[in-house]
């Protein structure tokens, strides 16, 4: 009996082991037969979301009764619900939302496809993860789709910075730009006026404004709120605002890491210096803390996305309705100093290679890409900011965000700096996040922190 149970046990173990190994080959094989061309051509033709408005309500809804799974991020929950409703009206298909925190979206998509679960049809992705998604064969190649749909899609209308950064890896495209968003510097007029200060144009002035207010208010308010919580999106975003304007970059022209360049170090030194006077304490300030301070008039300045104006003017959550101003991010010092708008956050949409309903998935993709649909979601509260040049000229949009913000956005696009989208970026951003956080907490000097990052990056990249 004992022997028998041993043998039985061995068999079970072996079976389980084989089973555990199973997902490895399965997903790599499954998507292959679905050649991108074949998959892309087909759905393009019966696409309901044509540019002609007359076709918006076709008599027969061709996808009636079908269901599509759309992976979206929590902050865009409302926007996605809108899309789902509109898409169902247009096509009859139901859209189920899979809502995850913004920093879990890449892992959820990768896990879904690599495990062969294949529940997700359409993916909204954070663009620095694009390379990771493509590397892991999660997104469908859209080259043919772009060729077939160019007439109504008008790709030339997309801001080039979004279009190329959000969708292109190598020479191919894997998604469409969806939410383009960059940081601007928002300031609280009464607080700056109280100390006779102007909105800063350089980082030196920024430091001065922050310091003056913080020292003057003695804890009642602070000159600036700096988001330095330990999450790549938050911390690297804040750093990039400085890195870019100081004239530094993550990689040099040859693609080698240059994160410990003199400009990069100066940028981090500036951040560490500013954080001494910022809302306590940057290391623990994420969106909620920064917004809380901003809405309650406790922060004089905050670097935030372009939709903050609309949110600030909602009296239900803000005490400073109509009291804010907005300018581009400050300029860095010296010869290399420039004005930038860093594209922190920003999302694209693509079709999952694991989708079992490619026709429907492509139809939904086309629907989101449709300029008229885009106009609808760009002009309601939902956090989706324009990715098309024409939207910024649209009176409805200017009316929605206010002329000042529209102007600032237009100006900012000329100076956009972006995150890398390389397949290795997700591995690279963790040591950078660690070291930025260590510099903020005073465990390392800026020079040391960035030298260590450079070393870690060279190791990872094998250079």
């Amino acid at each position: 009996m004992k022997k028998l149970s041993h043998i039985l046990g061995m068999i079970v173990i072996l079976g389980m082991l084989l089973a555990a190994c199973q997902p490895a080959p399965a997903p790599t094989e499954a998507p292959k037969p679905q050649a991108p061309t074949a998959a892309a051509v087909e759905p393009a033709a019966p696409e309901p979301a044509q540019p002609e408005p007359t076709e918006a309500k076709p008599a027969e809804k061709e996808f009636a009764g079908q269901t599509l799974n759309f992976l979206t991020i929590q902050p865009h929950n409302v926007a996605a619900q809108n899309l789902a409703t509109w898409f169902e009206e247009a096509t009859g298909a139901k859209v189920e939302l899979i809502v995850v925190p913004y920093d879990n979206v890449i892992e959820k998509a990768v896990l879904d496809v690599t495990s062969g679960a294949n529940e997700i049809d359409v993916i909204e992705y954070w663009y620095p993860g694009l390379g990771t998604l493509v590397e892991n064969d999660v997104l469908e190649n859209l080259d043919q789709w772009y060729v077939d749909n160019a007439s109504w899609l008008k790709p030339e209308d997309f801001f080039p910075v979004y279009f190329d950064t959000f969708t292109k890896i190598g020479d191919s495209r894997y998604g469409i730009p969806y939410d383009g968003d960059m940081h601007l510097l928002w300031y609280l007029k009464p607080l700056l006026e109280k100390y006779d200060l102007q909105a800063p144009a350089t980082w030196d002035e920024y430091l001065n404004v922050c310091k003056t207010i913080t020292e003057g208010e003695k804890g009642e308010a602070y000159g600036c709120a700096i988001m330095g919580a330990k999450s790549p999106l938050i911390l690297i975003g804040t750093y990039l605002n400085r890195l870019g304007s100081f004239g530094g970059s993550f990689f040099d022209a040859e693609g080698n890491p240059s994160i410990n360049s003199p400009e990069a170090v100066a940028a981090l030194e500036a951040l560490v210096e500013q954080s001494k006077y910022a809302l306590p304490t940057p290391s623990a300030v994420a969106f909620d803390e920064a917004l809380g301070a901003w809405f309650s008039a406790k922060a004089g300045m905050v670097e935030f996305w372009t939709d903050l104006g609309g949110m600030t003017d909602d009296p239900a959550s803000s005490k400073i309705v109509g009291e804010w101003g907005v300018v581009p991010l400050p300029k860095g010092p010296g010869e290399k100093g420039r004005v930038v708008a860093s594209v922190n956050a920003g999302f694209g949409v693509g079709v999952s290679t694991g989708s079992q309903k490619k026709d429907l998935a492509f139809a939904f993709l086309s629907f989101i890409a449709n300029p008229e649909v885009a106009e609808r979601y760009n002009t309601v509260v939902g956090g989706i900011d324009p990715v098309r040049k024409s939207t910024l000229d649209n009176p409805a949009f200017i009316e929605f965000v206010g002329p000042a913000v529209a102007e600032a956005i237009t100006a900012a696009h000329a100076n956009a700096v972006v995150w890398p989208t390389d397949a290795k970026w997700f591995t690279l951003q963790e040591p950078l996040t660690d070291n930025l956080s260590l510099a903020l907490s005073g465990d390392k000097t800026p020079q040391q922190a960035l030298d260590d990052t450079q070393k870690a990056w060279e190791e990872i990249l094998g250079k």
Binding site: L17, T28, N136, T281, S283
Partner: protein, 294 residues
């Protein structure tokens, strides 16, 4: 036929559990062990066999080292504090039977609050600018400036510990209470008759008698504390710096953020070995302590 079934009934009874244990422990263990010898990423498991490269890398990985130290500091601190207060409260309560029923029930509440909700409560409490703690510290003039509990590298880990202590002290309290209640009455009555002081009875009777059970409580709680993940994930993400980086969270980061499942597997194995060695040592230590008490 019936006799055969009857004979093997005990084995049949454990069969489902045996299968489940295979599925949740042995299969994953073999999976992790084999993946840890490769340079796997999430979409390409079991590729690029590298022998013990990942383990070598782990031994020079500073962040991993920090995370292990933090895990141990966290686990031993919270377990000691929770067991101490748990016992103190249980002993105090045993003397106050009227409060007992209410207390016992209320003490259960933190245990049964989802960690997500607990993290949210404590985030609100610790917030420097809109949180409960700083509000009253400032209002009553106890501090001159706000205290960034989760943003200061020296305070972040203790702050997470406090949230954990809130959640788990009741657990230790209930177990200690049971230990006290299970003591035999006779020796205590004899001591009373002899006119011994309360303190003397406590020191010479109660303490030695419950000690073995207290040590078991300590060990069990320690094993759970070593797994800490939720609070770090939701409160600090390991920051500021690496001051709250703990082992579970670091493994999560390597496996699910950087997608280096091979390296993540190696780290998992090292953590498992560490916990097993620790558990064995503590069990041995417990026996020694018990002998000394006797």
């Amino acid at each position: 036929m019936n006799a055969t079934i009857e004979k093997h009934t005990p084995k049949l009874m454990v069969l489902p559990t045996f299968l489940i244990l295979l599925i949740i422990s042995l299969v994953p263990l073999i999976y992790i062990l084999s993946i840890s010898l490769t340079n796997s990423t999430i979409s390409k498991p079991f590729t690029d066999f590298v022998w013990f490269e990942n383990y070598k890398k782990a031994f020079t990985d500073e962040v991993f080292g920090t995370s292990l130290v933090n895990t141990l500091v966290f686990a031993f601190s919270v377990t000691t504090i929770q067991t101490f207060f748990g016992f103190l409260l249980a002993y105090a309560m045993q003397q106050e039977r009227k409060l007992g029923g209410v207390m016992r029930t209320l003490a259960l509440l933190p245990l049964f609050t989802p960690p997500v909700a607990i993290a949210m409560i404590w985030r609100l409490i610790y917030d420097p600018n809109q949180g409960l703690l700083n509000y009253y510290l400032m209002k009553w003039g106890l501090v001159s400036g706000v205290i960034p509990f989760l943003g200061d590298k020296r305070l972040a880990l203790p702050s997470i510990m406090l949230a954990d202590i809130w959640q788990w002290t009741p657990f230790c309290f209930l177990l200690c209470l049971a230990a006290l209640q299970s003591l035999p009455k006779d020796p205590f009555e004899a001591a009373m008759v002899d006119g011994a002081s309360g303190w003397y009875v406590f020191k010479r009777l109660t303490l030695p008698m419950v000690a073995p059970q207290i040590i078991v409580i300590f060990l069990f709680r320690l094993l759970i504390a070593l797994k800490v993940f939720d609070l770090v994930y939701m409160l600090t993400f390991g920051g500021p710096g690496n001051s709250t980086q703990v082992a579970s969270f670091y493994i999560y980061r390597v496996s699910f953020k950087q997608f280096q499942t091979g390296y993540g597997g190696a780290l998992s194995i090292l953590v498992l070995i560490l916990i097993s060695v620790l558990a064995t040592l503590l069990t041995k230590g417990r026996e020694t302590i018990l002998k000394r008490i006797e």
